[in-house]
Amino acid sequence: MTSEEIFAKLKEKFGDKILETDTEAVQPIATVDPASIAEVCEFLKNEPDLDFKFLNCLTGVHINKVEEEEEEKLRVVYNMESLVIKHKTALDVIVPISKPNVPSVTSVWKTANWHEREAYDLMGIVFDGHPDLTRILCPEDWEGHPLRKDYVVQEFYQGMKVPYPEEEPKQEEKEEK
């Protein structure tokens, strides 16, 4: 099925919960209201002629500030695919940075478990209902979320100096010799 039909089916089932759909772009994508992302994914997976049983990728994105007054936004993109009907689609969800809560889709696809933990770890998006939302790549007690645009590396981690010494390695030694 082409992405128009898929989005049409979604709109007809979920109505206003599908905020906007963009089919001309290189990758057609539908923005979904954050609260209902779990139901939409459940529908996409169990609907016989959609059959999106395979979640390819779940990406956390930090949209940089476009207008002055609004606060920054975080975005989660879901790429999914059906191995039987061989068609794929993409959904995304936009949440403000102050309240980055997105319902977890681990109940729909088990592969989302680790992908969501990684999005939480690197981007700071909190997935409600996730079985064990802990850091997966950085150490458990690491501060801050590295992939955010405003991320500053912490000075010390358990007494070890973190930032790489920035000064030129060459110049000083040359003079001293």
């Binding site: 994508i29 049983k53 990406t59």
Partner: protein
């Protein structure tokens, strides 16, 4: 400082009978430094004697924040970083990054470059599967297959060194084509190697390890992944095909010129045990090497003359604004890149969806009830590379 009694520490950690922890359970850290975890992976196993109750993988020891690096580099400079995601199959990593960017730029690649790309990534698939075969034998205690595998892999590395200069990390497939042309003696040498290698698979690797009864006993009916479980956990590549699902990106979502070659997609049929056990995943890799040989032979015959990089890509690569998810079939599965570009000097956001990351997360549920030695067999059958998991 009050003297800390080890018993209190254990109680506080909940690993003491007073803290309700069964006496015979043993917490075993199959730690980051262990001969058969294929890299720095820590498996925290709760074992009852030799039987594993729970094995929780802890990853992140080799996390080099590829996504963060990609944001500060321009389009061309990201390629050496993609080499290092799955350092055993760097050609395929460059290939999928180049495919993603070209999908966004929507440019045409010269024919010869397309053929070189296919030849080179199929050679890399053979080299990577050779490592999987060698380390599997090593984990099962047979030393010799590992050295036979590396002896044959040396010839492939020599080809790559003559073509592009690197032996393990190549920075060879660029956006818009490839960086160097094939050296002139390549075709005959490669043909000779392929004949030699195909004969080696059939009457050296298989009798020595694949059909050895002890090896079959150790791997058949061990680590069974059902097809539903495989799809649900997002497994891809030989792990997915080992569970009987006929899905190969090279045929089902053909990128570059893979639709011009006829090759067979190998699917696990459960010859020696049930479908989806470790032996199936292992045999899928062995027969995939034979298929790759077929592809390379066809590509070597049909390769045209011509230039190797498209003119439209100048010194500075310009990519229009947009988002795309591009992927290719690497030896370990589907490596996908979710690329967001704001038309700037480099990618705004580049998320790498690595195959081993999803392939490993099935181990927690699947390894219950097996013995410690089976855990090693299961790990080797999923063929994980820690660079690919931690990125």
């Amino acid at each position: 400082m009050p003297e800390i009694k080890t018993e209190d520490v254990y109680i506080e950690l909940g690993r003491h009978p007073k803290a309700g922890f069964a006496a015979e359970d043993l917490i075993l850290q199959m730690g980051p430094q262990h001969p058969s975890t294929h890299g720095v992976l820590r498996l925290e196993c709760v074992t009852d004697g030799e039987i594993i109750k729970k094995a929780v993988p802890k990853i992140g020891y080799l996390h080099r924040c590829f996504d963060k690096h990609a944001e500060n580099e321009n389009w061309q400079q990201v390629i050496p970083y993609t080499d290092r995601i799955d350092y055993l199959a760097s050609m395929n990593q460059n290939f999928s990054y180049a495919i993603t960017v070209e999908k966004l730029m929507d440019i045409e690649i010269p024919e010869r470059a397309e053929y070189i790309r296919v030849i080179v990534s199929e050679l890399q698939r053979i080299a990577s599967h050779l490592i999987a075969f060698g380390t599997y034998g090593l984990d099962m205690g047979a030393f010799t297959p590992f050295l036979y595998a590396f002896r044959d892999r040396e010839t492939i590395l020599d080809f790559f060194e003559k073509i592009c200069g690197g032996r393990l990390l190549y920075n060879y497939i660029w956006i818009g084509g490839v960086s160097h042309d094939l050296y002139d003696g390549f075709k005959e040498e490669c043909m000779k190697f392929l004949d030699y290698f195909e004969e080696k698979i059939h009457n050296e690797y298989n009798p020595l390890l694949s059909f050895n009864k002890i090896f079959i006993e150790r791997t058949a009916n061990v680590g069974i992944i059902t097809p539903e479980q495989a799809i649900d956990y997002g497994l891809t590549g030989p792990c997915l095909r080992g569970s009987g699902i006929d899905w190969d990106l090279r045929r089902d979502d053909p990128y570059s010129i893979y639709d011009r070659f006829d090759f067979e997609v190998i699917v696990g049929k459960g010859e020696k045990g049930t479908v989806g056990d470790s032996w199936d995943r292992y045999m899928v890799r062995i027969w995939e090497m034979v298929e790759s040989i077929r592809i390379i032979r066809q590509a070597l015959q049909q390769i045209p003359e011509g230039d190797i990089i498209s003119e439209k890509v100048g010194k500075v690569v310009k990519v229009p604004k947009g988002e795309v998810y591009g992927r290719t079939e690497t030896p370990r599965g589907e490596l996908g890149f979710y690329l967001i570009s704001e038309g700037g000097k480099g990618p705004a956001r580049l998320k790498s969806r690595s195959p081993c990351f999803s392939n490993l997360c099935v181990i927690e549920e699947m390894s219950q009830g097996y013995m410690l030695a089976d855990l090693v067999a299961i790990l080797a059958s999923i063929d994980i590379v820690l660079g690919c998991i931690d990125r």
